[in-house]
């Protein structure tokens, strides 16, 4: 199991996209989780005799997911958490990297144009029994 194999595995699970979402191998925390993981899925995937074949890799992972669903899910979730809490990924998804507090967020108040509609609701006969 070489570092390049682990990078391939990270990129299979979290490939990124053409509009700026980075592949998993470029997120240090993802690679750290993968390197430290004792999941059997990791070895079963990268040590698979056909893993070197790019066209085979999706199928190898799909088979592992079907055969060992909980272990597979646990590994993928561990990578997902590391990936999507990365500032780089949050910003690539159009979100800010700062946590929710202490800044909070601004959101729009109730639109004044809704007031007549709300008044019509208030004028309805009672809905309760």
């Amino acid at each position: 199991m070489t570092p390049s194999h682990l990078r391939l595995l990270a990129d299979l699970i979290l490939p990124g996209d053409e509009t700026g979402l980075p592949p998993g191998s470029l997120i240090p925390d993802v690679m750290a989780v993968l390197a430290q993981s004792a999941s059997p899925i990791k070895a079963l995937a990268v040590d698979h005799p056909d893993f070197a074949e790019a066209s085979q890799r999706d199928g190898i992972l799909s088979a592992l997911e079907a055969e060992r669903p909980q272990e597979f899910r646990d590994l993928v979730l561990a990578l997902i958490k590391a990936y999507y809490e990365s500032g780089q990924v949050l910003e690539a998804m159009g979100w800010r990297s700062a946590p929710p507090q202490p800044q909070g967020h601004s959101i729009a108040p109730m639109d004044d144009a809704l007031m007549p509609a709300l008044a019509r609701v208030a004028e309805r006969k009672r809905l309760w029994r």
Binding site: L12, I13, L14, P15, G16, D17, T19, L21, D58, L61, E65, R73, V76, L77, I80, K81, Y83, Y84, E85, G87, V89, L90, M93, G94, W95, S97, P99, P100, Q101, P102, Q103, G104, H105, S106, I107, A108, P109, M110, D111, L114, A117, L118, R120, V121, A122, E123, R124, K125, R126, L127, W128, R129
Partner: protein
């Protein structure tokens, strides 16, 4: 009493002399959450001469350890601050909630709770609706479920008082309810999603209204206004969200109630049909015996049942009739950008257009529709199907910042087979293990399907180009209700109308376990109001 419980009782009683015996008190309350806190404040206020002690298995919430100001806040939602105690235990990290495992494999919905001072209000969304008057009379009005032993209007003054202590943001004049006391604060801000959804409800001619929220929209009661940070379920650092550790407990402590934390109630001692006290353990496992004239149990529909069953309270209905509020939701996807994961997650607008029975729909009772807000990015990613690869990331790209979820809550009705029972294992907290068996009724599924179809109409009217249904939604089991229900018949109910156990009348239940039926709306407002009512009655009885 089962052979297992009898054997445990014998063992507990044989060790009675080795425990440190505390000074007797008048009332010991078990659980410092929504029901226990309101009960503690009310009984001490009404009967100042009574010595009141509350035992809470967890500690105080610690805002300095809440994760919303850290980069790991999304991970916390899935691990150490997950709403499900089993997930928190699995995380192995500091949790702030003193959890016990629950065998929920045989339950469609997974139980959610928080075990510490404040109870589940520490980690709730603070949506704070009342039940409708009809919810108290389902047998009389609709021929299903059971009537409560009191009605909405008998509870109304306690609803008002509970609203006052918790602090409610909302708008007066909602035709879905009888007139309520004036809301203390204006409604929370809507955001793009609620403005758009409100227009859609209006276009359809359907009822909608800003929710009652136990969240400060402006500074109130010495607490800040909400800054719309988003993840309400991982604790509220600015303390804008009302939780009973912030509302009832300071008041109760000021009156002289004693609150003991990390105090795990293990056994209610019962002799000749009367409770004599409670054995509890501290963080080191050292046991104490707390003698009391009355024992109040408020540990939610799972924890209360667990303790009472473990203590040998003998009632055929105890643990049965578990009701959750079956829940599902539909996410509408929009081409333009919406708000994302900001604002109080459960508090914007709701509709009770379809709440009351209309038999033409093919089922009795109704549904609650509630606009929700987007999940945090990692949470949404963790719930995708498929979970990995190009398709998963493309789906997330499509949804994130572009989705509007509408939650549908249906009314559960009492069914004896939906139940909480003990396992034969002893857990590390010294209590027997606990198991939930629950399956959703066909009627509830019909209600959900009906509600989801209405939600899709709203989303379509709001401009959604695609809808994704999640039905049922398993991680929605906050409402743990009905397992020690009130009623007249000891064969079919556990307590009387004052929450007193038929078989042990000085054991009083003061949480959602009491509910004979549950309506289709969130229960915290009603749990608090009922606790205030029962505490006033006990204070009078003990005067």
């Amino acid at each position: 009493m089962s052979g297992f419980a009898r054997k445990r009782n014998s063992r507990v009683n044989s060790h009675l002399m080795t425990r440190k015996r505390m000074d007797p008190v008048d009332v010991v309350i078990i659980g410092a959450g929504c029901g226990g806190a309101a009960f503690a404040w009310q009984i001490k206020r009404r009967a100042p001469h009574l010595k009141i002690v509350c035992l809470e298995r967890g500690g105080w919430p610690d805002p300095t350890r809440m994760p919303a100001k850290t980069m790991r806040w999304q991970r916390a939602i899935l691990e150490d601050w997950a709403s499900n105690p089993n997930l928190r235990l699995k995380s192995g990290a500091y949790r702030g909630s003193n959890d016990y495992p629950i065998d929920d494999d045989n339950s469609v919905f997974k139980p959610l709770m928080w075990n510490g001072v404040g109870g589940s209000t520490v980690a709730w969304a603070a949506h704070f609706p009342r039940l409708h008057p009809s919810d108290f009379r389902t047998r009389t009005l609709d021929g299903v479920g059971d009537d409560w032993p009191f009605d909405y209007f008998e509870l109304e003054r306690w609803y008002d008082l509970n609203d006052e202590i918790m602090g409610v943001a909302g708008l007066d004049g909602d035709p879905a309810y009888p007139p309520k006391s004036p809301r203390a604060m204006p409604p929370l801000p809507f955001g793009t999603v609620a403005n758009r959804a409100a227009r859609a409800f209006s276009d359809l001619g359907w009822h909608w209204w800003p929710v009652d929220a136990a969240i400060n929209s402006v500074p109130h009661d010495g607490r800040d206004a909400c800054n719309n940070c988003g993840p309400c379920l991982i604790g509220c650092i600015p303390k804008a969200k009302a939780s009973v550790d912030l509302t009832y407990w300071p008041r109760a402590l000021a009156l002289g109630v004693e609150l003991r934390t990390i105090a795990i109630a293990r056994h209610v001692h019962i002799e000749a049909g009367r409770a004599t006290g409670v054995t509890y353990a501290d963080r080191h496992g050292t046991e104490y015996l707390q003698p009391a004239q009355a024992v109040v149990v408020a540990g939610n529909g799972v924890g209360t049942t667990r303790l009472l069953l473990a203590s040998g309270v003998d009632s055929p209905a105890l643990g049965r009739n578990l009701m959750y509020h079956p829940a599902a939701y539909v996410r509408g996807l929009f081409k333009d950008r919406l708000d994302g994961p900001v604002g109080p997650v459960g508090c914007s607008i709701y509709s009770h257009e379809f709440y009351e029975t209309d038999r033409a729909r093919g089922f009795e009772r109704g549904v609650h529709l509630q606009l929700s807000r987007e999940n945090a990015l990692a949470v949404q990613a963790a719930r995708l199907q498929p979970l990995w690869g190009t398709a998963a990331q493309a789906q997330l790209r499509e949804e994130f910042l572009h989705s509007m979820p509408i939650l549908v809550l249906a009314e559960d009705l009492p069914e004896a087979h939906n139940r909480v029972t003990l396992t034969r294992e002893e857990e590390p907290d010294g209590l027997p293990g606990v198991k939930i068996d629950y399956r959703m009724a066909e009627r509830a599924q019909k209600s959900l399907d009906y509600g989801l179809a209405r939600a899709e109409e709203v989303l379509l009217a709001a401009g959604a180009y695609r809808m994704i249904r999640v039905s049922p939604a398993p991680l929605t089991g906050w409402h743990l209700l009905g397992t020690a229900r009130m009623g007249d018949d000891p064969q079919t109910s556990v307590t009387d109308c004052k929450g007193r156990c038929h078989r042990v009348p000085n054991v009083i239940v003061a949480d959602g376990s009491l509910f004979p039926t549950v309506g289709a709306a969130n229960p915290a407002s009603t749990i608090g109001a009922v606790a205030l009512k029962l505490a006033a009655e006990l204070a009078e009885d003990m005067a």
